[in-house]
């Protein structure tokens, strides 16, 4: 009995417990309303089903959420420019590769250029935040507004299409691979990031700087450099996400590519149980958060919720999830439990 309580405490205390519960709740709804949600079959040589869609469509959000997590952890602020940076990186890639029957430059060079541009944008944000000490939201607001404008300049205000077929592979399927490519890219980003954070002390440094930059400095950490690096990395993630977004529709639509995705990325970080004021963080939590957001959207499609009601349902679920995870609610929950325990004890005392 005692042991079970201990395990319960351990389980609920596990940092990914609540994010997983939230994802579970969303999926549970489907189990009741649309059982077909969990069917996976092979169709046209590839895996096919709502769950595959959820993973596929959440890929770019996962990648952005990973970058956002580190930015939030190190600076206690958010990078609101990632959507616009994605669009800009995508535009650069399409512009570099050209809209002809063949690529204007090697495919890989175009990809690298886009990622480089994303990283540069991130570095610019990092410079403003870490070096110039500008509030993260204000600093990234610059590229939030300018990014799309720059993308428009590159595309001349038109939707540009890439006509070469191999360009579609990053956003759809590689030959003879049954899973969509974006899933692999997302896994790669998550694994590499986790590996670097775990194998080096970087994760710890980021946490330290996020909790108390001054104290970090006193123990010899270069807080400025660490914050700068997280923003640059976030830009890199935005560049990769931009490539996927662009490849999915083999074109760049500067007005709509990655529109409002920065808000979803921030939400993913919050749903992952991360504090938006910085410090301790969990990349895995943000990944679960991102999947939860997409699972919610796909579920609402599957349940055939009409378009005009869609935002309302989304808002309700998000409110419930956020409240569920709020520390205040947990504190209230604990107080009630403690009271009950103490009254029980009192009862026992009187009886004795």
């Amino acid at each position: 009995m005692h042991n079970m309580k201990e395990t319960m405490k351990k389980v609920t205390g596990y940092h990914l417990f609540w994010p997983l519960v939230c994802l579970g709740v969303v999926l549970l709804f489907n189990l009741i309303k649309t059982p077909s949600f969990f069917q996976i079959s092979i169709n046209n040589g590839v895996l096919y089903g709502y769950l595959i869609d959820v993973l596929n469509r959440s890929s770019e959000l996962i990648i952005l959420a990973v970058g956002m997590t580190l930015v939030v952890a190190s600076s206690g602020g958010t990078d609101i420019s990632v959507g616009a940076v994605s669009a800009f990186a995508g535009a650069i890639c399409v512009y570099a590769l050209g809209t002809g029957e063949t690529y204007r430059m090697p495919y890989l060079a175009g990809m690298l250029l886009a990622v480089l541009i994303g990283t540069l944008c991130g570095a610019w944000n990092g410079f403003l935040v870490a070096k110039m000490k500008i509030q993260p939201m204000v600093a990234t607001l610059i590229l939030f507004t300018a990014g799309r404008g720059m993308a428009q300049l590159v595309t001349g205000g038109n939707i540009l299409y890439v006509k070469v077929d191999s360009f579609k592979r990053l956003g759809s399927f590689l030959p003879h691979v049954p899973l969509p490519t974006p899933i692999f890219v997302a896994i790669l980003v998550v694994v590499i990031t986790t590996f670097v954070l775990r194998k080096t002390a970087l994760g710890l440094y980021i946490q330290t700087v996020g909790i108390n930059a001054k104290a970090g400095k006193l123990v010899g950490l270069n807080a400025t450099l660490i914050q700068f690096l997280t923003y640059a990395f976030c830009g890199l993630c935005a560049g990769i996400a931009g490539l996927i977004i662009t490849s999915r529709i083999y074109s760049i639509d500067a007005n709509n590519a990655g529109l409002n995705i920065e808000l979803d990325a921030i939400l993913a970080v919050a749903l992952g149980g991360n504090s938006l004021s910085g410090g301790k963080f969990s990349v895995a939590g943000s990944v679960i958060g991102a999947i939860t957001i997409q699972a919610l959207t796909t579920s609402l499609y599957a349940m055939k919720v009409t378009a005009d009601q869609l935002p309302v349902y989304k808002a309700i679920v998000v409110v419930i999830i956020v409240v569920l995870q709020s520390p205040e609610l947990k504190r209230m929950f604990n107080t009630v439990k403690a009271k009950r325990a103490s009254s029980k004890q009192e009862g026992w005392w009187h009886n004795g």
Binding site: D53, M150, L153, N158, I249, N256, K304
Partner: protein, 348 residues
């Protein structure tokens, strides 16, 4: 020292990046304006003026945000030319209403004969239109409609009849299905709606629904917004395909969403245009390519060529004739079998 250097390096990188952006943009931007021969500056006069017989028209355009808009501007400039008896003062609002209001005030102080506005937003026009009314200058509104308390603030409106477009689409569809010999079958229809609340979405949704209701064997089994974008169109179509319904017909409320849906269909090994009949709207150039490739069956036009109608109206108004308050432009239906012939003549 090291850090300062890093900072300087970064700012340089940013500046050079911006320059890359501009360099990349300019040729494209000039291209879109090239047929006109002049760039859309804030304000310009296309004719030297001075001739007393010319009708002076002040035209405040939204901007140049899409191919549709560029074609719209071009049509106006061509129709309101000096050869046709007009002197056009063109003002590009760059998507800002305050620029438009400023432009209209300029038109009033220049005492133009007719003011033409393609409004950025529906609301906020009472004051400045009141000023135009006081100056007794007639106002023609094009494209988007105005939401003003007093209808007499503008003379007339020229634009697309989205409701009629919806009806035309279903009309074509039922005839096409009859032609295939499937007109009496039970047919499942999926609808990709535009951005909810936009006038194009409202009109097309209603038109499609009303006309489909007349045919009891057509049933809308899925309806969801794709927000007028290719990416969302693809995502929503993917989910339509898994809903367990056998979809025979897809009605996408613009071409971009149809492109996304076509990709989603191809990904599961279906043949768009054959297995699923694709009905789309707008009829942009890329839609003709898609129709020639056999992916799309029909696209219903959303005509940006408002110029001739506006020119005709301006002349009538100046002659003191009464004009109808609401003027719809003519819009065609372009099926796949004639796409190859029609494509070269398309302006946008």
């Amino acid at each position: 020292m090291g850090k300062k250097f890093l900072g300087a390096l970064l700012s340089m990188a940013m500046v050079s990046m911006l320059m890359v952006g501009c360099g990349g943009g300019q040729p494209a931007a000039t291209n879109t304006n090239a047929p006109e021969g002049d760039t859309a500056a804030a304000e310009e006069t296309t004719s030297a003026g001075g001739d007393g017989d010319l009708i002076t028209v002040g035209f405040s355009q939204v901007g140049a945000e899409s191919d549709w808009r560029v074609a719209n501007t071009q049509s106006m400039k061509e129709s309101l030319s000096e050869a046709n008896g007009f002197e056009l003062i063109f003002a590009d609002a760059q998507q800002k209403q305050e620029n438009q209001i400023k432009a209209v005030r300029d038109f009033i102080s220049q005492e133009v004969d007719v003011i033409v506005i393609a409004p950025v937003t529906e609301t906020g026009w009472e004051t400045v239109l009141g000023e135009a009314k006081d100056a007794e200058i007639p106002v023609i509104v094009v494209d988007r409609q105005l939401d003003v308390s007093d209808d007499s603030l503008y003379t007339c409106w020229v634009g697309s009849d989205f409701y009629q477009e919806g009806i035309n689409a279903v009309d074509w569809l039922t005839k096409y299905m009859d032609g295939l010999g499937r007109g009496e079958e039970d047919l499942n229809v999926a609808v990709l709606q535009g951005t909810i609340g936009s006038s194009a979405e409202i009109g097309r949704t209603k038109g499609v629904r009303d006309e489909l209701e007349k045919h009891s064997n057509y049933k809308i089994v899925a309806e969801q917004t794709g927000e007028f974008t290719q990416a969302k169109g693809q995502e929503v179509m993917e989910s339509f395909l898994k809903s367990g319904e056998d979809i025979d017909i897809l009605i996408a409320q613009n071409d971009n969403m149809a492109f996304g849906a076509i990709d989603a269909l191809k990904a599961v090994g279906k043949d768009p245009g054959e297995d699923v009949v694709i009905v789309s709207f707008d009829a942009v150039k890329a839609a003709f390519d898609s129709m020639i490739a056999g992916d799309m069956n029909v696209s219903v036009e959303c005509n940006p060529l408002h110029g001739p109608r506006v020119a005709e109206l301006a002349k009538k108004i100046m002659n003191g004739e009464e004009v109808e308050k609401i003027q719809y432009v003519e819009e065609g239906v372009y099926p796949a079998d004639t796409a190859a012939e029609t494509l070269p003549s398309r302006a946008y």
